[in-house]
């Protein structure tokens, strides 16, 4: 079970969180013209990366904040965690 540092609550066990997928995906702006391909990429197409991955987790049974977690998908090493509004870079 992973041990995730929630930027709001501190180190908490994985069973308090739910996984939210790739954090680098940006929703296209409302009312924005967008091609079918771009929209499909946003809704469906994800890379299944091996290695460093920036992802979203929802601290569901804690502070209910969505957070960003940089994790290695093969070793489960967590490099850093960020608040939702913190810059990814």
């Amino acid at each position: 079970m992973l041990h995730i540092k929630c930027p709001h609550c501190g180190m908490r066990s994985q069973n308090e969180f739910s996984y939210g997928g790739d954090a680098s995906v940006k929703r296209p702006k409302l009312n924005q013209e967008i091609s079918d391909q771009d929209w499909d990429n946003f809704v469906y197409n994800r890379k299944s990366l091996r290695g460093k991955h920036l992802e979203l987790w929802h601290h569901l049974s804690g502070c209910r904040q969505w957070i960003k977690v940089e994790r290695d998908t093969s070793t489960h090493e967590i490099f850093r965690t960020m608040k939702a509004n913190e810059d990814n870079s």
Partner: protein
């Protein structure tokens, strides 16, 4: 029966506490502190069971967790448990156990005929034999194999015992309380670290309990006892016996199972039988020790052949002799230690050492004691069927390939030692890359992946001095890193006898003309010849060899057999062992009961049960409950002898003619506040929300980004910046997460807060033509007329002094209202509604009537909004705003979603107006068409229309828009039904929706 093999003056058992127990129906006695194994051996019992495949007699091989043979069916306090290791089960008064895998008895087992047929049962036997004919597998082969094979029998009764889960954090978790565990725990604890020390046995100390050493001026056991009593006094230390750390998971999470009550005749009141610990440790020290390896020779599975360390343990801890004429067969000095212990108790043993001319302090001591030692000697085969009677021995050539002439030597047990295998399971589970250590012919931990270190014998270090030094040092260093303290304890002086190097020899060649079975895996009956066949047949990977031969696959997971198997594969393949590699170590290290894994989440506790504030009223009024997600909701209220069908029909009819009341507390409720609340709703819902006036409710549909309907419900504007959203019962949690996702990640600029208020409000839906009359009486000071409170209107009211929210919304299609009060007042509200409603013939109605009412009105719900349908499919396309964008809108233009013949919700009526239509049935054009019969749609919900008194269903049907009036067939292969039906509008009752506005 008397304990003929119990010695008088040796052992750690409590001789003042005599315990009686039964094995295979016969009574025996032992002492407190015995295991079932030691108590049986004290009584001279060596025949415990039959082997898995050949049904050969089985005795005891080890004295602990590594035991491959002595598996019994245990009876305790009226319950039974299979696959219990007799070597681990502590004796208690009244214990009963029976042999497994034998019939009719362990002494005369019919299955032993397999032993005579063994040439027909080679490796991969099942794969090769039971292939044909295919239909025989289920009917003939499988039932037969299942009966013939297998170990104990699981109870089919509900387990009444209680199992608990516990979460714990610590600085250092130390697995194993042998010398390295005790030393590191002591050093770390003295330096202020929070330590958990876990020992799987009942006694602490590991090998210190049986080895002849001095630490300071104390014996090993005295030193261990001293450390443990000091640790027990320290507030920063948790010391646990009977606790097996069996799994090492990510981020230093380890799982331990504690056998709290298994050693007692029955579990104490309010105590668990077992407890599962989830331990998050900053650092882990693995001090799990090592397991002695067998030597491989003919008939080495005969009862009486056992590990020399086990013989020593039975002697020194339990005062039990495993034999009076022991033969000791060893390739290292450990065998001599056992011989010396025997000698001290006046038992004369013969030692066969495979080495030519070994020298060490231990060997010298044995020589001085006059022990008979034969160098360059091996056991060729054990003789005897149910117990060792003698051994064929021979001299072996220096290159270990040629045997001298065979001699027979009388003995009643053969104690074997093939050197020691470090227990690296936990280290390997943690992700540690193990490496092969040529000096000890075994794998040891290599590079750590997590914060873990392995100490002592588990790390391949077999001398006490070095073990204690490195363990003290490691415990100190790690604790210093964590606590920043610098409190170092002094290191004791160690006296131990030095040993010489072991012989790499492990497998005795077969003598000419003999084909004795030489077993590698004792529980699964895998012999040297089976592995040879597997390799001849082309299996190369050790993982494949394992699965084909079942080597190492039994409940002991090859604790005694893995390394010898690897040695064999590598010698046949002419590879070195590290090239062959080892199979993967996976948790659990040793079998763990399902009960302790499940914990307290069993039966009705497997999920939380949520009840509305009116629950006790429902109970008192004969409600029959149904699970609705985690909620318990009344399905119908039983009157007299009526069944579900009659009861729900009565309730639904009463709503259509008079007035009914339904508990709708379970609906999800979300409070939305903030200046941008309307903007949020406008983006989340498909319809327009910016102009909703205060005091008005609106129905809304929300989509996922892929265009599929996520949920529906009404949202009411309570005040300028305050909205009250309702969701379906099932989706309440998901909708809240959905809103939080967009507010926190996509539109952080919106100034809105959302919070769940599901539990804060109790809700009652009042529906039926007389509902307004009832409402007026409940709220005499409010104007609830059609003008005062129009359809989709909202007001606050005073319910006999209680603040209430009144919504004019309808799910039943009737004139209807929903009243919400604070949860604490829910029961008051409900009783008032029932009381005042008497004159209007009010009846409560449950979820079944609720469904009937919505289905015949054509209102879609969870069974249509099932995660596969878009708004058009549910005839909700009128709610899609063309003027604004919303979540999921872009997806609705996908080709399949705008296809001409897109599926749509329709009504379905059986032509005979009598036959009920099963939910989930298919709709087809021709019921006699050849398979696969093209499926046009499916029945999503069915009811008995109370309005028309005939069955009515909703269906999602291909090209539903153009199918009204068509005659089709409903097919239910599950219920074996074919029903001719007519497709009608989904709005079966009141298609214009006049009643709700009346």
């Amino acid at each position: 029966m008397t304990q003929n093999f119990r010695l008088k003056n040796i052992g750690l058992i409590d001789r003042n506490k005599k315990l009686t127990f039964k094995f295979n129906g016969k009574s025996y006695y032992g002492y407190k502190g015995d295991t079932l194994a030691s108590a049986l051996l004290a009584n001279g019992i060596h025949l415990i069971g039959r082997s898995f495949k050949y049904h050969r007699p089985r005795g005891f091989f080890g004295a602990g967790v590594d035991e491959p043979y002595a598996i019994v069916q245990l009876y305790r306090n009226g319950e039974t448990e299979p696959n219990i290791k007799a070597t681990e089960q502590e004796l208690f008064e009244g214990l009963e156990a029976t042999s497994v895998n034998c019939w009719p008895s362990v002494n005369f087992d019919i299955g032993a005929i397999n032993n005579l047929l063994k040439m027909f049962l080679p490796a991969g036997f099942y794969y090769k034999t039971f292939m044909w004919p295919k239909s025989f597998w289920y009917k003939v082969y499988e039932p037969f194999i299942r009966k013939a094979a297998g170990l104990g029998v699981a109870s089919t009764r509900h387990d009444k015992e209680r199992y608990e889960h516990k979460y714990e954090y610590c600085d250092l978790l130390i697995a194993g309380s042998g010398p390295s565990g005790l030393a590191s725990a002591y050093a770390a604890a003295k330096n202020g670290a929070r330590v958990i020390l876990a020992e799987d046995k009942s006694r602490f100390g590991g090998t210190l309990l049986t080895s002849e050493v001095k630490i300071g001026n104390k014996s090993g056991k005295e030193w261990a006892d001293g450390i443990i009593s000091e640790l027990n006094e320290m507030p920063n230390v948790v010391v646990k016996n009977r606790s097996q750390v069996f799994g090492y998971y990510d981020h230093n999470m380890l799982v331990m199972s504690e056998k709290v009550s298994d050693h007692l005749p029955k579990t104490k009141k309010f105590h668990p039988k077992q407890r599962l610990w989830y331990i998050r440790a900053k650092e882990v020290l693995i001090s799990s020790g090592s397991i002695e390896r067998p030597l491989v020779f003919g008939n080495n599975d005969t009862p009486g052949v056992m590990l020399s360390s086990a013989a020593k343990e039975y002697l020194k801890i339990y005062g039990v002799l495993v034999g009076r004429k022991p033969l000791i067969f060893t390739n290292n000095d450990s065998g001599y230690e056992t011989a010396i212990e025997f000698k001290k108790n006046d038992i004369h043993s013969v030692v066969l050492d495979t080495r030519k001319d070994p020298h060490s302090e231990i060997i010298d001591e044995a020589k001085n004691l006059g022990i008979d030692i034969k160098n360059s000697y091996v056991v060729v085969a054990a003789q005897g069927y149910k117990k060792v009677k003698s051994a064929d021995i021979a001299k072996i050539s220096d290159d270990k390939t040629k045997l001298g002439s065979i001699e027979n030597i009388i003995c009643d047990c053969i104690c074997v030692s093939g050197f020691w295998t470090p227990t690296i399971h936990l280290a390997s589970q943690s992700g540690n890359k193990t490496k092969f250590n040529e000096d000890i012919d075994a794998f040891v931990p290599g590079i750590s992946k997590q914060n873990e270190k392995t100490l002592g014998a588990a790390n391949g270090v077999y001398n006490l001095d070095e073990t204690l030094k490195s363990s003290f040092e490691t415990g100190y260093e790690l604790s210093k890193k964590i606590t920043n303290n610098d409190n170092k304890v002094s290191f004791p002086n160690v006296i131990e006898k030095k040993s010489s190097t072991h012989d790499k020899f492990w497998c005795v060649p077969l003598p000419k003309g003999k084909n004795y079975k030489r077993f590698l895996d004792f529980q699964n009956d895998v012999a040297v010849s089976d592995v040879e066949i597997a390799l001849k047949e082309g299996y190369r990977s050790i993982e494949h060899v394992k699965r084909y031969t079942t080597l190492g696959m039994a409940t002991d997971q090859g604790k005694t057999s893995n390394l010898n198997g690897l040695q064999l594969v590598s010698s046949i393949e002419n590879k070195i062992v590290p090239e062959v590699g080892h199979t993967t170590f996976r948790p659990p290290y040793t079998p763990v009961s399902i009960g302790v894994i499940v914990g307290r989440e069993v039966g009705k506790h497997s999920k939380p049960t949520r009840k509305s504030p009116m629950h006790s009223w429902h109970e008192k009024n004969n409600a029959v409950f149904v699970d609705a997600g985690v909620w318990l909701r009344p399905r119908y209220y039983n009157q007299g002898n009526e069944n579900l069908f009659e009861g729900s029909k009565r309730e639904a009819k009463n709503v259509r003619t008079n007035v009914g009341v339904c508990d709708v507390t379970t609906l999800g409720k979300i409070d939305i506040k903030g200046p941008d609340a309307a903007e949020l709703l406008n983006r989340i819902y498909t319809n327009a929300w910016l102009k909703l006036p205060i005091g008005k409710a609106r129905y809304g549909v929300m989509l996922r980004e892929d265009g599929i309907v996520m949920d529906d419900g009404t949202t009411t504007r309570i005040s300028e910046n305050h909205y009250h959203m309702t969701t379906t019962t099932a989706q309440a949690a998901n909708v809240l997460s959905h809103l939080e996702y967009y507010l926190q990640l996509v539109w952080p600029e919106l100034n809105v807060n959302v919070v769940s208020t599901t539990e804060q409000w109790a809700g009652a839906a009042i529906a039926g033509p007389k509902s307004r009359d009832l409402l007026q009486k409940l709220f005499p000071n409010s104007d609830v007329s059609n003008d005062g409170l129009p359809f989709m209107g909202y007001m606050e009211g005073d319910l006999f002094g209680i603040k209430a929210r009144i919504f004019r919304i309808s799910f039943s299609g009737e004139l209807a209202y929903e009243v919400n009060v604070e949860s604490d007042n829910g029961n008051f509200m409900w009783e008032k509604i029932i009381e005042v409603g008497q004159e209007f013939k009010i009846q409560p109605y449950g979820t079944e009537a609720l469904s009937t009412l919505r289905i015949e009105m054509g209102h879609v719900a969870g069974s249509e909004l099932d995660g596969r349908t878009i708004p058009y499919d549910n005839s909700l396309e009128g709610l899609l705003s063309k003027k604004k964008d919303f979540i999921g809108k872009r997806s609705l233009t996908r080709e399949a979603f705008i296809a001409e013949d897109r599926q749509k919700v329709v009504g379905v009526v059986p032509l005979d107006k009598k036959t009920s239509i099963p939910e989930g049935s298919y709709l087809v054009k021709d019921s006699n068409a050849p398979l696969p019969n093209p499926k046009l749609g499916y029945i999503s919900a069915s009811c008995w229309s109370v309005e028309y008194d005939n069955p009515f269903s909703l269906a999602i049907l291909k090209d539903g828009k153009n199918m009204i009036g068509e005659k089709l067939f409903v097919m239910s292969p599950l219920k074996n039904k074919v029903i001719p039906v007519e497709i009608v509008s989904s709005h079966y009752v009141d298609p214009k929706g006049e009643r709700v506005r009346s």
